[in-house]
Symmetry: C2
Subunit: 246 residues, 2 copies
C-alpha cells in the first residue's frame, strides 16, 4: 500500500497528538460519476461507513492535508479539490462511536485520548474520474466502496450531512466554475458532458443550448471525430484547453 504513511495503529492513538493538530480533522467527499449517477467514495468501519478523512500535520497546510489524504486513499497525483465547509458544532465529539472499535485494535480506550476530544472538521470535495482512482483501505477501515449519493448507507457521525452538502455545493458551483470535466476521462464528448450536467442538476437541459454555452466559454478543444463506436453518427471528442482549467 504505497500511499499509506500512517504510523502504526497503536502509536497513532497514543501519540497522534504529537504529530497532528489536535481537535482538527479534514474530511474529503470524493465524488465520481458512473452508470449515469453521482457516486461517493466511502470506507467501512464495522456496520457503518465514513468519508475518507484524516488529520492535519503540524508542518503542513490544511490544503496540503486534504490533498495528502485524498492521494493516500485514491492514488491520484494532482486531484481536484475544493473547500466545502467547516463543521464545528461543540458537541461534535465521537468518543463513544470510537469506543468499541478501538478495542479491536488492542488499544485501551480512555476518555482523555486525543481522538476522543471534540473535533472541528474542515471538509472538502473532490471530483474524480473513477477509472483513474485506485482506492485502498487504511489501517482502520475494512473496505471501500462507491455509493450512489441518492442511496447512502448508514454513516458514522455527521458524514452523511457532509456528503449531501457537497452535492449541494457542486450544484451551485457548476454555474461559476468549469470543473465537471474532472468527473470524466480527459477526452469526452458533449453528449457525455450534457448527460453529466443533467444528472448533477437533476433536470433536463436543452442539448442545443448546452453545447453552445459550453463551447462559448472557449475552454474546449475539439479533437478529431472518433470513428465507429456506436450505431448512428459519432460525437466529436473534446478536451479542456491547457492553462484554462478553472
Amino acid at each position: 500500500m504505497p500511499y499509506l504513511c500512517f504510523m502504526d495503529i497503536r502509536s497513532f492513538f497514543e501519540y497522534g497528538h504529537e504529530e497532528y493538530l489536535p481537535h482538527l480533522s479534514s474530511d474529503v467527499v470524493v465524488i465520481g460519476y458512473a452508470e449515469e449517477k453521482l457516486k461517493c467514495l466511502l470506507l467501512r468501519i464495522g456496520a457503518r461507513w465514513l468519508l475518507p478523512g484524516g488529520f492535519i500535520k503540524l508542518d503542513e497546510s490544511v490544503e496540503e492535508a486534504a490533498s495528502r489524504i485524498l492521494t493516500e486513499r485514491t492514488g491520484l497525483n494532482d486531484p481536484h479539490l475544493k473547500f466545502l465547509s467547516v463543521f464545528g458544532k461543540s458537541e461534535r465529539n465521537f468518543a463513544e462511536e470510537w469506543k468499541e472499535h478501538l478495542e479491536k485494535f488492542g488499544v485501551s480506550w480512555k476518555q482523555d485520548l486525543w481522538i476522543n476530544k471534540r473535533f472541528v472538521s474542515l471538509a472538502y470535495y473532490s471530483l474524480v474520474n473513477i477509472p483513474d482512482t485506485h482506492p485502498v483501505t487504511g489501517p482502520l477501515d475494512e473496505a471501500f466502496g462507491w455509493f450512489d449519493l441518492d442511496e447512502l448507507p448508514p454513516m458514522w457521525m455527521d458524514h452523511r450531512d457532509i456528503a449531501l452538502m457537497a452535492r449541494h455545493k457542486l450544484r451551485s458551483d457548476i454555474r461559476k466554475d468549469l470543473v465537471t470535466h474532472h468527473l470524466l476521462p480527459r477526452h469526452f464528448t458533449m453528449p457525455q458532458l450534457h448527460q453529466l450536467h443533467q444528472v448533477i442538476l437533476n433536470k433536463d437541459l436543452d442539448r442545443s443550448r448546452f453545447q453552445k454555452q459550453m463551447l462559448a466559454t472557449g475552454f474546449f478543444e475539439r479533437l478529431p471525430k472518433l470513428q465507429k463506436e456506436t450505431r448512428g453518427r459519432n460525437p466529436y471528442q473534446y478536451r479542456i484547453k491547457e492553462n484554462k482549467d478553472h
Copy 2:
C-alpha cells in the same frame, strides 16, 4: 466593559490552552459604511493593527465563537455574520510578532507557550451599521478605529489579506444574497442603497434598473415618504420585510 469576558491577561497566556481549542483562532472582518466608503474595524497593538479575533472555547461551536467575539467587540446583539475562509498555511505562526508585546504585560515569553504555536484561522466577515456599534478595546489592544478598506494601515500577520478577501467575497456575494442592508440603518432609501452598491462594486449602476431589480425581489417594504429633508424631491424609505432577511 460589559462585553469583555476574558480572564485576566496572565492567566490567558498561561492557561488559555485549557479553555480554548489550541491551534485555532477566529478572526472577523467587521465591515461598515460611512462617508461613501467601506470601512473596517481594526484594533491597534503597538505600531500595527489587527482584526478583531479570538479563540474558540471548548464548549462552543465555531459560529458561536465568531458571534461572541463580534459581540464582545461591538456590543451588537444579533450581528450579521458570514463565513469567509480558512487560513491554514503551515507557517502561520506569529510567535515572533507576539514576543515584544508579551513582555509589556509582564508575561515571560516562552517558545512553547500555546499562543506561539502554528494557528489555523477561521475567518468571517460581518456587515454592520456603524452607528449601532459600540466598539471597545480589549485587554491586549490599545485602540480601535474604522479604516477605509482602500487605505488600510500596517497590519499584523496576514490580516491585511483577510480583510481584502472579505471585500472580494462581499463583491461576489452581493449578487446572490440580499445582505447589504446590514450596512445601513433599518430604514433606508433606494438612493442610499444604490450608492452603497456602487461603492462596493466600484462601478456605476443604472439607477432605473437597480431600483427595479431590488423591488422585484419582493423583499422591500416601502414606508411613507420622509418629509422635508433636502432640496428636491425626497425619497421613499424602505425596510426589509420580516422573515425575508435571508
